[in-house]
Symmetry: none
Subunit: 405 residues, 2 copies
Amino acid sequence: MKELTPQMKLIKALAESSESKIILLIIDGLGGLPLSENGQTELEIAHTPNLDSLAKRGICGMLDPIQPGITPGSGPAHLALFGYDPLHFTVGRGVLEALGVEFPLEESDIVGRMNFATVDKGGRLTDRRAGRISSEKGRELCSMLGHINVKGVEVFVIPVSEYRAALVLRGSDLSDRLSDSDPQAIGVAPLEVKPLSPEARMTAQMVNDFISRARQVLSKQHPANMILCRGFGKYSPFPSMEEVYKLRSAAVVAYPMYRGVARLVGMEVMPTGKGIEKEFSTLRENFQSYDFWFLHIKHPDSAGEDGDFQRKVTLIENVDQLLPHLTELNPDVLVVTGDHSTPCTLKAHSWHTVPIVLTSRWVRPDRVERFNERECLYGGLGRFPATYLMPLALAHALRLKKYGA
Amino acid sequence: MKELTPQMKLIKALAESSESKIILLIIDGLGGLPLSENGQTELEIAHTPNLDSLAKRGICGMLDPIQPGITPGSGPAHLALFGYDPLHFTVGRGVLEALGVEFPLEESDIVGRMNFATVDKGGRLTDRRAGRISSEKGRELCSMLGHINVKGVEVFVIPVSEYRAALVLRGSDLSDRLSDSDPQAIGVAPLEVKPLSPEARMTAQMVNDFISRARQVLSKQHPANMILCRGFGKYSPFPSMEEVYKLRSAAVVAYPMYRGVARLVGMEVMPTGKGIEKEFSTLRENFQSYDFWFLHIKHPDSAGEDGDFQRKVTLIENVDQLLPHLTELNPDVLVVTGDHSTPCTLKAHSWHTVPIVLTSRWVRPDRVERFNERECLYGGLGRFPATYLMPLALAHALRLKKYGA
């Protein structure tokens, strides 16, 4: 079990049970950049009357996902939003993928993210995603690989989605100090997995054995005739949001990796359909059963990574139109923000700050009247690290005791 | 070798090589205060069309050199700008002076800043700068003092400029836990150097021996008939900017102390003439050979310390006029800020925040249209510790990988 940071110990000591309810709506990759030098960002161009209305009656600000200048991956960015300092609560991508598909990880399991890929006759990568094979095909291939025996260790190959899978090693004296086999480039051969410290030598050998056996097993499975591994991590459970915040928490999340993050912090992950409307409905139908709701909207991030400015604008507008479904529930605290920025001009996650709005009976309102990057700069919350969001949400839900007499 | 802080370890793990170029223009003592209660600061009065144009298209903010309320010396202020936490990366003024004149310091050398001074017949100080003797005279006197032998230790007396010098002790079991002999006042006698902890007793004795021998040697050299020592420190090399940031970095700096800071973090210090124009030319001529440029303009700080408001205004305007020489180079990131404030009304360094502007293809613009203290308050960077400047510059130069998956 990972230890609490001093910051979390403080919050844990002050957190009280309550009937109050908190909703955290995360619009993935929300922050953006203008298309041209004097232009407007995705959020500035989007018509968002409901978000603007929240900004008007709530308190706004700008979040630093990790710290100034640092671009976060999705895992660390979400952990920060949940109050788990991502520089302390480190976790491999494979762990999140495995938890996301409900694989029952055990403490000290070594987990890597695995891709099916295509290599040519010379062993050089031609497609790092194996032509995006179907999820069904992915399951079938994972099942084939599951029969591989590696001496001294139990191996699980867990299908995630399409060409994506997770590789789990269970045994004693295993280490996650392993380099990637994925070279993150095509035209070159996959890399040998190397131990990053001496105690990882045996584990590296086991993974390399598995990979070479997998290549034999897949030799006739073109385009999925190879596997790539990266992001190895050792699973260590995190203290739950119930333990730290006294919150019975639930997540509505369509994508496996985010379900993994939610499970890691002890949220109940609700079954839900794909599509934004279904996610909102799932929350509405179960609203009364939990104290804290994490509602995750993935698509604006994908539009940002594709560089599709207009699609990102439209997706943000879609979320805005559904917002009354949340406000009608009258949560004690409603927070809307993103996990990070994904500017369409950059086609990638970025380090830029993210606008945030918090509404509650107890906010001290500011002068912000529109929910976007330039307006939220002038919000009453100022610029602050994402790890302060949970204390702020709990405070506005009257769930934190006074510190000291 | 000094250890990296966790913050620097993070940046080091994320830094990548790139062709992108960063220029950091430091206007020493940039920040100011209004002359009268309802007046304007030096920077507000100065006509600075080029800085204002940067502010318009860039992102602005306010730097805390060390932390709120702390007035920095020039050494710590610059270390912070380079991302070296000055509370961790401590360094004596003498070390910086010695490095600034290219003296080959060795690890564990004890270095103190040394002044020639004038004492009267009763041994009381009448001038702490010995009538500002010439640099030539200073060199001559240092050479005389260099012949003094102190038992058990090798002593070097290094001329810096005019009445300023550095005293280096090289030997085993030396300590820098020493008080100053400089009382920072006239009309009193120089102080005995005292050990600030038991292990420094021997070193204190050696320094006191040296000082009393020096007084004999200088007895006929009025006005330079005495020396004052202060700011003892033990030299310990710092990890270089190349090692931490993967930046081949160069400095254009006219003053020895700042050359010392630049060398301490592994910058190549370019030979340059005195005068602002020459510094700009030196950078232009060598621009392509380095990734990171530190251009240091000293004079506004001196004007601030002299309390010469109009001169500081004019000097800032001079820098503004030369700015196109930098923008024409099209650096990927251009940052303009100061190391600290030196308000003319205070005639000294101060704790006030310092305006900063950063331009890059990847900035998210704010509404700031003028580069000064009151406008930059509303900039998109907000108020932040100077040690975050390097991560921000690296991020905007696309030189930092994503943190986590």
